[in-house]
Symmetry: C2
Subunit: 583 residues, 2 copies
Amino acid sequence: MSNKPYKGFEPKWLLTPAPEGSYRSIFRWGDPEFFKYPKESLYNLMKETFKMTDDDFKDYTDDIGFDQVDLSEYPSKLAKKHVDALKKIVGDAFVTTEDYPRLAVAYGCTGYDLLRLRHKQIENVPDAVVYPDTTAQVEDIVAYCVKNKIPLYVYGGGSSVTRGMEAVKGGVTLDMRKRFNKVISFNEVDQTITVQAGMSGPKLEETLNNAQSIFGAKRAYTCGHFPQSFEYSSVGGWTVTRGAGQNSSYYGTIADIVLSQKYATPIGRIQTSHYPREATGPNLNQIMMGSEGTFGVLTEVTLKVFRYMPENRKRFSYMFKDWKTAMEAAREMMQCECGFSSVFRLSDPEETHLMLKLYNVDETPLEPILDKLGYRDMERCMFLGFTDGEKGFSRNVAKNIAKIALQHGGFPMTGYVTKSWEKGRFNDPYLRDTLMDFSIITDTLECTVNWSNMEQVHRDVRKVCHALPNTVVTTHMSHCYPQGANLYFIFITKMNDADEFKRYHTTILDAIQKSGAAISHHHGIGKMFAPWLEGYIGEKEYGVFKTLKNYFDPDYMMNPGGTIGLDLKPEEKKFLNERKDYR
Amino acid sequence: MSNKPYKGFEPKWLLTPAPEGSYRSIFRWGDPEFFKYPKESLYNLMKETFKMTDDDFKDYTDDIGFDQVDLSEYPSKLAKKHVDALKKIVGDAFVTTEDYPRLAVAYGCTGYDLLRLRHKQIENVPDAVVYPDTTAQVEDIVAYCVKNKIPLYVYGGGSSVTRGMEAVKGGVTLDMRKRFNKVISFNEVDQTITVQAGMSGPKLEETLNNAQSIFGAKRAYTCGHFPQSFEYSSVGGWTVTRGAGQNSSYYGTIADIVLSQKYATPIGRIQTSHYPREATGPNLNQIMMGSEGTFGVLTEVTLKVFRYMPENRKRFSYMFKDWKTAMEAAREMMQCECGFSSVFRLSDPEETHLMLKLYNVDETPLEPILDKLGYRDMERCMFLGFTDGEKGFSRNVAKNIAKIALQHGGFPMTGYVTKSWEKGRFNDPYLRDTLMDFSIITDTLECTVNWSNMEQVHRDVRKVCHALPNTVVTTHMSHCYPQGANLYFIFITKMNDADEFKRYHTTILDAIQKSGAAISHHHGIGKMFAPWLEGYIGEKEYGVFKTLKNYFDPDYMMNPGGTIGLDLKPEEKKFLNERKDYR
């Protein structure tokens, strides 16, 4: 990352690629050659916020994880006959019990995961990693594992923030990245593509953008699904967790984009139908999405695709005077039926404060102008986004957004802020790694809130966060709908102990639950949010999930150990007697 | 209905209101004072098609059902203690075992139902009818019926075309029309309304249109859901069958419009969550929708509402030269991302032929002009619709539709045709009653088809229909999506025997199934389509429905007797080995 040189002291930012085979190569995000660190004003803000000095940034808090992964204390317990049997299914080269590949698929990306890996707290690793190539192979593996009572996990892109794929019972993890990432078919007439579940975001998008040369298509397409984790996420992960991309206000969440799915389950292949709508009983697509690997392994997904028309994109950004007015403007934009913009992101005052530094607006003449016009720091709210779709549609959305923003006292900030946001949208996780070397940890929690409950959830959750020590919490609203939106909390704190962090994280999560919001808009449940799920859904309602589990996987071999709470003990569950119900 | 006087012989159209308490008052559609009969050119077409003469229209084929309902041969079998217990729950006046109210809720509106009623083929009537007032009462009734093994059915609006609510096991039918039709709450901030399940379409729409005076709202709203059965359909029926309104291309089907639901099930109250999207496991809303009363009784529904802006509506209609070109234009309109029109209806050549007569276009100078320009009868295809939404959005959709229509050789037919369609959109069922007096019966079947399969399904189904004796079959595409659309077949034949009609109906349904279409887009499954469902969904996939049934209603007391196939015997099921799979 290119950055202006610091005027004062510059911390010992770690800008050396992690050695192959090292712990760091696992816990750091993405591209080994890419680094990101804060600019000086942000660095100064952090020192101030967390009461740190330059001295705290002279050396790393801990071991930076450059040593080679060593799991000699955690040897594979999978019997040789099983390893051999799995090799017979996928080929000798595609089953391994070696240390590095086992640890490489053991953890996701929540703060708890990263802290454990940094401290070599190896709690859960699979005994073997298998790299399937075909749907038939996955089906054979599922059948074999169930028959032999071997727990089975799936690693898609590795960006889970819910401990969704953590192999807490050992057994086998399918690593989908290596081979299970192929296009199965492309149908331009129906505008659909069918892919293996391990297909990565960037490979899918590149394929669709180049549909003309690859498939002889008439035009280029886009997948429309761009989560922040895009570069290291998979279609399978998107689907089973009910993910949402940052452009979801226009394209929909993955639950809207998926047309059909194929699963390898203990009771055999499950194939959902592939029609845009039907009236044929309960919707099987919507039953399988959200199962997070507990009903079986997702093998193939048919996705809707969209026309790739970046030339029609209209960028916008506005500053509002306060959160209440900004929320009202956002709601009007969502309810006025002018069509939806693609990215739609409204930051609260605390996030706006940080963003203006992050995007260098604090160094431009805009800052004093905003002040003068009454858009005051720690009150003002930044709103940004862009439109997609056909030219006239896109223009009409932007036009209405402008009109509504102005009616609500929004100050036009030009496309510059949006472009700055776009630059960082997929690489913020790199900054997180750099800061963690000095015990500054960033994590996120998010939830769905309806409009009439928005102000209260925002207030309640922030109140709890600010009562925690050393906490910066920024919030934005994104993934918006006529009935509500996602509230996304980013919290930054100074902390280094995994268990302490887990307790901290739990406190905030508890606050979200009690506020009456939906427990997750798009991160899913995994093992981390599972204790709250039954309390959120309701006991009889949750019984539906158990019933489905018992149908598909009566031996509990599919992603066992707490995912979506199916095999939690009663004492591991939290019930939300204090939960607000605003209806 | 005002009509021009016939020049020639005018049939003895029945234009006398059916007496209160008569059979006819049950089997005829809607408003007792409203009648509709064909204009002369259509009458002549029918005579020609069905090889009938004026003599056939001199008198009715059968008894017209003016006599009083008499179920003395089918007395109520419900023990007095049960009747008394039910009265204790809802009040003495709201439980009845009398003949008329029992027969009034026994049948729906498929041709088989109407023919049976016309011939007094009383096969299935409930033993008692209960008129609940509150959700608590419904919950008590469900608990009582389950405890005492009394089958429980629900009658919402009575417009089922799938025998969905037919009380084949006797027992109790809840008639929701009388009292279970109230607004529970209205939330203008979230743009939602919560209603009891028996709320009728017109009452809901009237309430929303008058939200300002009723709720003190800032503006007027619309429900956005207008099935042809609108005037005699209920929110509960829409929801449990996964219905779609004629404006669904813009507003979505009911599965898109419903935000949350409450059910009284044998295991207790089930309340789904009420957020626009969430990532909290399988989607319970989508599990309950489509259950068609077999998991429990739907009590309350929260629906999204939309701004009522009829002033923004743009009507359009175009004539295309042939079905293939018309389909291509329709697909481009759906895939170009300009937004969707509200009504979007494309008729095939045979339907176009009939429509031009129905809307009197055959009597205007347009007819020879169309011929001259190469839009030939029985080749040309009529396309019509209108837009909704914010002014600029609506205009942009209409503009793009115009552009694409012209690119595909569409000839603008002005808003006249659309307005004619609008006039008849909710009252065509009256015409059906009038014609049935002379053994001319109309019925419909519909299915979802993806674009790449559209031509084949249309061809295959029509081929089978045309091999049947005396059959007119018209087809239109409506409820359209980027990936496909609903194909709606209307067939008209000369037939009077219920069982003969059932066999006839089965033949067409079989053809739809074999063609590879989705078995139903929005009519649901009921008892009529149930034999095909497992074959369509797949055996293991269908097992999910059975599993859910066993969870909610292990004693099979909720809408028992074949609905969605849950308690069908193996020999009653049809399997579709011949089914095409075009993927």
